[in-house]
């Protein structure tokens, strides 16, 4: 199978090598097309977002207003903080120019003259690599004012890096925009959607790194060709990041719709110690986990996974063997969302904390009858009642894990309420983060 995003070409992160392999030919071609034709082509290709929601990229671009005097923006989302996701990092390292070329074409298609590439701050090394690639592209006249001459058009786009500083929530598109504006990364209520009121209130499109990295191929080889790769309704290759209890964890680029079992057992080398699988989270920690006995026949594309009762998310596949303590896993996931909740909405802020407390109590051997129903009820009260989808991300694992593995959790809930003296009530570990020890005078 041909790899489109991470082909086995050495030194593809060097501009001359990238160009030797057809790099920036798609940009040349695209800049001779009309923006509408590009959007049409991308729509026809069936390309869907790789950032989590699998929304049609072409359709998203078409929401951008065509006749407006306001500036328009493109944001490339490389925040990549969803536990289990580590694939955009591969693009930064091994094929950054394809992302840049894709972003260039996307900018032209939506009429954006400024594009921000948002990368999480912890990607120290990869931030430098992308900055280096941007510098090389500028120097070669592929970006900025000089590109007008290079490509013989009157279109120019400036492309900048914006570095995050450790906040998962900034991957959420409206939070990402708040962050670029220099504010706390609070998500915003939608509508208005970013295409109407995004960065500084102007029309903005947000796309994942991998999404735009697909675009040069679509322009070069046509929508027709692209739409035939992998699953019909979610075509293309996908970067699957496999982690957890497998022999060969890593990122595997495979056609969408590849069998989950094939990815785990063939590409990732099977389960460590050849144990049985207890659970798999197929798309990053917010996606509902599947039972080990639910995996047969499950294909890795948005629609198949939805049918199987989960979601494609970021394509981050987390494998857990039969000896995994799912209560610990679920507590750890909940701890993460509690830690990362921005705190704007009460159901998310408080609910995540309550759920975490209940899990800690259960881990402490003080679970009580009714805890599981209480957890599900808290999760249900978060879902749908928040500004952003972090609420769902926190609620789903709890709801679905308890529904699918109830027997695993029931061992932890006692028959009746046992009250402990207060001094014995301790949490499993200290997990507090340092609070700013100062106030402004």
């Amino acid at each position: 199978m041909e790899k489109l995003i991470l082909p086995d070409i050495p030194d593809l992160d060097k501009l001359d090598v990238y160009k030797k392999h057809g790099g920036f030919e798609a940009a040349k071609k695209a800049l001779r097309m009309s923006p509408d034709d590009i959007i049409e082509e991308v729509k026809k290709s069936g390309l869907r977002g790789r950032g989590g929601a699998a929304f049609s990229a072409g359709l998203k671009w078409s929401f951008m207003p065509k006749t407006t005097d306001r500036p328009k923006y493109l944001c490339i989302n490389g925040d990549e903080s969803e536990p289990g996701s580590f694939k955009d990092r591969q693009i930064f390292e091994f094929n950054p120019f394809q992302m840049i070329e894709g972003a260039l074409i996307a900018s032209y298609a939506i009429g954006a003259r400024t594009c921000y590439i948002y990368i999480r701050g912890e990607y120290y090394k990869w931030i430098k690599l992308v900055q280096k690639a941007l510098d090389a592209a500028y120097e070669d006249g592929l970006l900025g004012e000089k590109m007008k001459k290079t490509f013989g058009t009157d279109f120019a786009v400036e492309m900048y890096l914006h570095v995050g500083a450790g906040a998962y929530i900034c991957g959420e598109e409206s939070s990402l925009m708040s962050s670029i504006e220099g504010k706390r990364g609070y998500p915003r209520v939608k509508p208005p959607f970013p295409a109407q009121a995004g960065l500084w209130g102007d029309p903005t499109t947000i796309n994942n790194v991998e999404t735009v990295a697909n675009v040069p191929h679509i322009i070069n080889r046509g929508a027709e060709w692209y739409s035939k790769i992998g699953a019909e309704k979610h075509p293309g290759t996908i970067l699957f990041g496999v982690s957890g209890h497998v022999k060969k964890p890593g990122v595997y680029e495979l056609p969408s719709g590849t069998l989950l079992t094939e990815i785990i057992h063939e590409h990732a080398g099977g389960v460590l110690g050849d144990k049985k699988i207890k659970a798999v989270i197929p798309g990053g920690s917010s996606m509902p986990p599947l039972r080990g006995d639910q995996l047969e026949g499950v294909r890795m594309d948005a629609d198949s996974l939805k049918e199987a009762g989960s979601g494609i998310g970021t394509g981050g596949i987390m494998v857990m063997d039969e000896d995994t303590d799912l209560l610990k896993v679920l507590w750890r996931i909940t701890h993460f969302y509690h830690h990362e909740s921005c705190g704007q909405c009460t159901p998310c802020r408080e609910g995540c904390g309550w759920m975490e407390k209940i899990f800690l109590r259960m881990l402490d051997g003080r679970g009580v009858k009714g805890d599981l129903d209480l957890l599900v009820s808290v999760a249900n009260n978060i879902e749908g009642n928040t500004i952003c989808a972090l609420g769902e991300a926190a609620a789903w694992p709890v709801k679905f894990m308890i529904a699918r593995f109830r027997d695993e959790f029931e061992k932890y809930v006692g028959e009746e309420i046992k009250l402990e003296p207060a001094d014995k009530v301790h949490s499993m570990r200290k997990t507090e983060t340092p609070i700013a020890p100062f106030a402004l005078k």
Partner: protein, 157 residues
């Protein structure tokens, strides 16, 4: 302690503001530069950033406290970030975290007495395929074992 950006850092912040229609957008970068120069984001750094970008100190403080990568107190010479999120946990992240805590005698958010190490338990670092992992300042160490992690600490003084 008084804090003033060096000339070079002033220029870096100026260059950063050019990327955006509003100067304020450079606040994250300016805080990083301040942290780089000062070792941590102190009140004085906050004030200097705010002055430079013509925002209120409260706005700059709000940003500094929202994001976890700004040290709101002095960090060690080597800042250790150990991931204990799910993919790392499944492969021994907590064992590594606990071994480091034991060896250094500090826990999350603390600095050793000699100021060499500070420790932070972090959320997923996007290195799950190389789990378990830790970062020492800006370097990622992946596919770690407990022994390997402790050995790395030995090499840092």
């Amino acid at each position: 302690m008084a804090f003033e950006f060096t000339q070079e850092n002033v220029a870096r912040i100026e260059a950063e503001t050019k990327k955006y229609p509003s100067k304020k957008s450079a606040v994250m970068k300016a805080l990083y530069i301040g942290q780089e120069q000062n070792g941590w984001v102190s009140n004085e750094v906050i004030k200097a950033v705010a002055d430079r970008l013509e925002i209120t100190p409260e706005e700059a403080l709000g940003v500094a406290t929202f994001y976890t990568m700004y040290h709101k107190k002095p960090a060690g010479k080597y800042h250790l970030q150990v991931c204990t999120n799910v993919s790392c946990m499944l492969r021994g992240g907590y064992e590594i975290y606990d071994a480091i805590r034991e060896k250094l005698g500090i826990t999350n958010g603390e600095v050793t007495d000699d100021g060499v190490f500070s420790l932070e338990e972090v959320e997923c670092m996007g290195a799950c395929g190389g789990a378990p992992m830790m970062a020492v300042n800006e370097d990622f160490f992946e596919n770690l074992t407990k022994e390997e992690a402790l050995r790395i600490l030995e090499t840092k003084k």
